[in-house]
């Protein structure tokens, strides 16, 4: 999964030519770390149709807040430069994420 920061966010996420999954996580967020392997598995499965990226909010706090993300974990889909859908906290389960992905493949 591609690491996103404030320098590459526009190019890699907003200007991407296919839908982007962006996994907002943080170094102190245990639920995020528990979720990450499942998202990586989904990346193997759907990686040809959807671009998988992750953003460490501990290092990119302002960028996350500018995306109206103030809670972790949050897994969002970007399409055509806009955030179109997201799952957060308890809703961000592997099953729910896969269902959301299926709408964009």
């Amino acid at each position: 999964m591609l690491e996103i920061n404030k320098d590459n966010f526009d190019v890699e996420v907003k200007q991407a030519d296919k839908p982007v999954l962006l996994d907002f996580w943080g170094t102190k967020c245990e639920p995020c770390k528990a979720l990450m392997p499942s998202v990586e598995k989904l990346a193997e499965k759907y990686g040809d149709k959807i671009k998988f990226c992750k953003l460490n909010t501990a290092e990119n706090r302002r960028l996350a807040i500018s995306q109206k993300v103030m809670g972790l974990p949050t897994v969002a889909i970007y399409k055509g430069g806009e955030k179109v859908e997201e799952l957060t906290q308890d809703m961000a389960t592997p099953d729910n994420i896969e269902e959301m992905l299926k709408r964009y493949v």
């Binding site: 967020c29 103030m70 809670g71």
Partner: protein, 308 residues
């Protein structure tokens, strides 16, 4: 038929990990199934100053990580899988997960509890947008901002103190005129000049356009409503048991907590419950660990009686 486990433990928090340690240490074939985050609620608590021996600041994640390693060193199997069904009718019981079926002589339910929702307008819509149930997950976002903490128990006040390391101001909103938290925690909170209190009050609505902007607060004595501007709302208003899957299988109280005797036995032979998921008076890491130990030892006794 595949190998039969002696003990299958559902849940990888302190109760489950302690049961795993005791089970594996007595050479019982023991499996722990955890659906997501190992360590349970303790893994999202930064300060764990009330677990005996946890001086010199081991954090919740560190302590529970050690518990898991310790259990694994004695040979426990630990798998990250979600249990979707149980069959308890036969002497050998079946545990079904999303990818496998397991057979076992005994089951220890250690699924714990999860933070309760407040249930006011705006809460669900603004989750992850300033509404949070996990201070260690989200505190960073509120650096130099204002937050409110709803609740007056140990978790609420401990997390309010933790949040002062980040936020500019922390306002505790509590429905009574005094806190329920342990006195030592209260003293720390009262001495912290970043924390103030709104007493006798409940949050009736969370407002914000895509991100939290304010909460509506009602004084329960005067019924007067007021609006408090804030960037975040941290909820610690209690817990609900994670016991949906076991409804109709084992006896529970009206809130869904599993009823056990002092040996952690449930209403079904060979099925035990440990930790926050059962009816008890004190839900802490230390009592969860204790429950897990008792459940594993009683499970072994049961196996000796019924299978050998």
């Amino acid at each position: 038929m595949q190998d039969i486990y002696d003990i299958i433990i559902i849940g990888g928090g302190p109760a489950g990990l302690s049961a795993g340690l005791y089970g594996a240490r007595s050479r019982a074939k023991t499996l722990i199934l955890e659906k997501g985050k190992w360590g349970g609620q303790a893994a999202t608590t930064e300060e764990l100053e009330n677990y005996p021996g946890s001086i010199e600041q081991p954090t919740g994640p560190e302590l529970t990580d050690r518990m898991k390693k310790q259990a694994e060193e004695f040979g426990v199997e630990a798998k990250t899988e979600t249990v979707t069904g149980l069959e308890l009718g036969e002497k050998v019981k079946k545990v079904v997960t999303e990818n496998a079926e397991y057979f076992t002589k005994t089951i220890i339910i250690a699924t714990g509890a999860k933070p309760r929702l407040l249930g006011c307008p705006g809460e669900l819509e603004l989750r992850g947008k300033g509404v949070s149930y996990c201070a260690t997950c989200d505190a960073d976002f509120f650096t130099d901002l204002r937050v409110v903490v709803v609740g007056g128990g140990d978790a609420a006040i401990q997390e309010a103190i933790y949040l002062t390391k980040f936020a500019e101001k922390v306002t505790v909103i509590h429905r009574r005129d005094q806190l329920r938290a342990a006195k030592s925690i209260q003293e720390k909170a009262f001495a912290n000049d970043k924390i103030d209190f709104i007493w006798d009050s409940v949050v009736t609505e969370i407002k914000g356009d895509g991100i939290v902007e304010s909460v509506v607060v009602k004084n329960v004595k005067t019924n007067v409503l007021s609006e408090v501007e804030t960037d975040g709302v941290f909820m610690f208003v209690g817990y609900d048991p994670v016991s949906e899957l076991f409804k109709g299988m084992v006896n529970m109280d009206e809130r869904g907590y599993i009823i056990t005797d002092e040996n952690m036995s449930t209403s079904v032979e060979g099925v035990f419950a440990a930790g926050d998921v059962r009816v008890k008076s004190l839900r802490q890491v230390v009592t969860a660990a204790s429950d897990g130990a008792i459940a594993a030892v009683r499970a072994e006794h049961y196996i000796t009686e019924k299978f050998e």
